[in-house]
Symmetry: C2
Subunit: 348 residues, 2 copies
């Protein structure tokens, strides 16, 4: 808790880990030669290399990251900031980024911002810069909206789900395309218009989906009904669904994610509406459950693996070249048509 406690916290590892010097002594070479072997330099004679390698094996040598980082200034670690793994999209993104980073030889350091109070956000970033990272991936860029948040100017940043106006490279699913596919699909089935249950107002992804839904309706000369807002949760979708169920003439609902869609479905079913006979419902994300609901849910599938690959490669470019590419990359999503959508009821 205080200074004294920290002093006792030294956690002695009894048999001191072997260092390069130990390996060098056993192999009968200088520690610099060991360093060359460890780093795969070309200018080491094969026989020497083998001798060093076997000494390393015998002693169980592991390079000391701290010492290496101290010298090179690199940590081969990425920081990852989000509001947590609660939402499907976040969890999938974090999972995919972690795996992509691993493939590139980087480790991922996770930071969860528990609330968007200025203090919480600051603490998270402090922890990350005090901690050793070569770059920061921001999963939900609204975090950056915190007033007076100054990112350390010398750390590369890549955003997933951000806004072009923020001065960092961004990689995201083409949310607008996804929403357009949904809206056109429903209009194409004969629905006069499409209602929308949007995600929270401060989410860039939610905003882009809503804007595109709006634009697509206008393009098609369809009426643009009042939009409802949720917070991504099934509970909020359920609330919105109860409102929509009371409204006659609602034949098609586009929820901004699958969980809200599920809530809408339940509210509709409870109100006696059949899906898709009376109402068509579409989600966004394609969570694993969606294919097994009854009826199964029409939705939009994002390619998180491609997304993550791009994020990581953009990140590593920045780290290795030291320059910030102003790139903004969009990954195309895919409409998955299932049982929850169909033609509007004839009365319609």
């Amino acid at each position: 808790m205080d200074g004294a406690t920290q002093k006792t916290a030294a956690g002695r590892r009894s048999p001191k880990r072997p260092s390069m010097a130990d390996v060098a002594a056993m192999a009968g070479v200088s520690s610099q030669t060991v360093s060359r072997v460890v780093n795969n330099r070309s200018n080491v004679e094969e026989e020497t290399r083998q001798r060093v390698l076997s000494a390393m094996r015998v002693l169980g040598y592991r390079p000391n990251t701290a010492a290496r980082a101290l010298v090179t200034g690199q940590f081969r670690t990425l920081g990852l900031i989000s509001f947590g793994l609660g939402s499907f999209g976040n969890a999938r993104t974090v999972d995919a980024v972690t795996k992509a980073a691993q493939r590139a030889g980087y480790t991922v350091n996770m930071i969860a911002v528990e609330s968007q109070t200025e203090r919480a956000v600051h603490e998270a970033f402090d922890q990350l810069t005090v901690q050793a990272v070569d770059g920061i991936v921001v999963i939900e860029a609204q975090i950056l909206d915190t007033p007076a948040l100054r990112l350390p100017p010398d750390v590369p940043v890549v955003m997933a789900d951000g806004d072009v106006s923020l001065r960092h490279p961004m990689v995201d699913t083409d949310q607008a395309l996804g929403a357009r596919l949904v809206t056109r699909h429903l209009l194409g089935l004969g629905h006069e218009t499409v209602w929308h249950v949007a995600g929270p107002e401060d989410s860039y992804a939610a905003r882009r989906r809503a804007e595109s839904w709006h634009a697509t309706l206008k393009e098609a000369d369809a009426a643009v009904p009042q939009m409802l807002f949720g917070d991504w949760s099934a509970a909020s979708g359920y609330e919105a669904g109860r409102v929509l169920a009371r409204r006659p003439g609602v034949t098609a609902v586009f929820a901004a994610n699958d969980q809200m869609a599920l809530g809408v479905m339940r509210a509709m079913i409870q109100a006696g509406r059949r899906i898709p006979d009376d109402v068509s419902i579409v989600g966004f994300d394609d969570i694993e459950e969606s294919a097994y609901l009854s009826p199964s849910l029409t939705t939009v599938r994002q390619d998180f693996d491609v997304l993550a690959e791009r994020i990581v490669s953009l990140m590593i470019d920045q780290i290795e070249t030291g320059t910030a590419p102003a790139a903004t990359a969009f990954v195309a999503p895919q409409l998955i048509v299932r049982e929850s959508t169909g033609a509007p009821p004839p009365a319609g």
Copy 2:
């Protein structure tokens, strides 16, 4: 890709970060005094401390983790190993552990093992020990079953979902209690017996749930039907559900997680069975969706936050005392009764 590339990867941060020496110079003290201020030592005069603090602020000083770790041998970082965030339980556990670790001043370094081949597991652990961590949390202890995997003997380990036989402290939900609650609930409703769709055979959690289901049936003198196996996915639950739907007399099914329960539900509904009138179905996990299914799903809720708190505190105990408590802690889960369970059909 090769050595030469790494050499150019030096990523120069133009304006060198200030070090303790810089702060010391500006404040007119020795760098050791700066160190004392940074570490909150008591023996620094208040006026001096203020002078140092203001110099730190002016220069934007941040302690260098690598240098500190090199000296202290501590990183204030926990390694977290799992198969990824694909499953709900994993994602929730990782999320909660991250947040708990953060509260304790630790950062979390995630490693995903992509497959359980010996090579993949080894790579993951190598990355983690090369990387700097003070301890390792293993989310799915089957990872440790990999033959010839030698954990570095000097790194503290805590398992979530492991087996007592493995020589590490473990913290887990009381899976046996959860399964017993489910089985008793169904028997109490009048079902003659309960069928079980288990998780994969190599999962300790799945095994404990299955064993407890079995034992509870025997205690009640109920017949113990043949157990089916899934892989946690809704798809595998669906397959199992199709098998069960063909079988007359199946009135109650306990699936080892909610996603498989969902698959079973869909198969039953497709086969024309009504839930819960004809068949009762129970899951495990209480994923967010379960409350909003139609019918909503009876399930078992795990307390991931308590779990994570215990994991982290056990971890930190080990790190700070250097000793491994042989503790095994179980966290009690809770049965959540919803619409998917009811009395068996009168035909019986």
